[in-house]
Symmetry: C2
Subunit: 156 residues, 2 copies
């Protein structure tokens, strides 16, 4: 699992989507202006997020994007995986010329690390991040408009 700014953009956008989800879908234009990410780049990212079944696009006026599941079911790992190309860790996978040299050793290390991060991020969901935010709001001076979830949100 690679960690680049691309995944970070995707997580930011998804978080924005959740935080501003009322019963109506959230448009990419809104997210773009709020998070200062270019609309077209968001389109690329959401194309992948949609294909990974994390979000659902709703066309036409009043349209936008909506989560497919509740935020507690969407892990950070799944978001990052969705936007990144699958990694090619099969360089010396099971080949017969494998000599357990430094290439192989590094491969093992990276695979282990990847698993580790994967494990870590798969246990953190969008809901966790929001809960963390709510915890903080009490102790900080930040005066952000509170997004209330007084009505049950639509998903899928």
């Amino acid at each position: 699992m690679r960690l680049t700014t691309k995944g970070r953009y995707a997580v930011t956008a998804m978080l924005d989507l959740v935080l501003h989800s009322q019963n109506t879908p959230v448009t990419l234009t809104e997210i773009a202006t709020r998070q200062t990410i270019s609309l077209s780049y968001l389109e690329q990212l959401f194309s992948r997020l949609r294909k990974a079944d994390l979000v659902k696009g709703v066309r036409g006026p009043g349209g936008g994007y909506r989560l497919r599941q509740t935020p507690d079911l969407i892990s950070i790992a799944s978001i990052i995986e969705a936007v990144n190309e699958p990694i090619d860790s099969t360089k010396c996978g099971g080949e017969e010329n494998c000599q357990h040299d430094s290439v192989c050793l590094t491969h093992d290390l990276w695979a282990g690390l990847s698993d580790h991060i994967q494990d870590y991020l798969s246990k953190i969901t969008l809901a966790d991040l929001i809960a963390q935010r709510d915890d903080r709001r009490n102790t900080t001076k930040c005066s952000e408009a509170i997004v209330k979830f007084d009505k049950p949100l639509k998903y899928g």
Copy 2:
């Protein structure tokens, strides 16, 4: 802490350096041919590794590179940090316009993740990887020439 192929190259090269360290320094040309990394790219990487005091260059015939410390004192984290640009995680650090929005939340997440990986990789040393390799050699069919450390190696 970013995880890219650059750090992976650096770790691979450092591992190769350790595995082929007799009492004489190891040249970049050797590492380049063994690991199929371009010499000039290795030069760039080792320039940084040297500035981070992980290796020491020895000029002239019979020269090459040598570890500064014993392999059990060189963590994977230190290698990756050495070759990567310091990350600019100060986008919304302590600014007054911080609203704990999704940008901030993602920042917190990333910072936490970075710490986590840092912690994980700082506990793995080059010596650990070699030990892992030695464990494996007994159970595999690989017939790599064994690098014996029958003489104490020079460092620094």
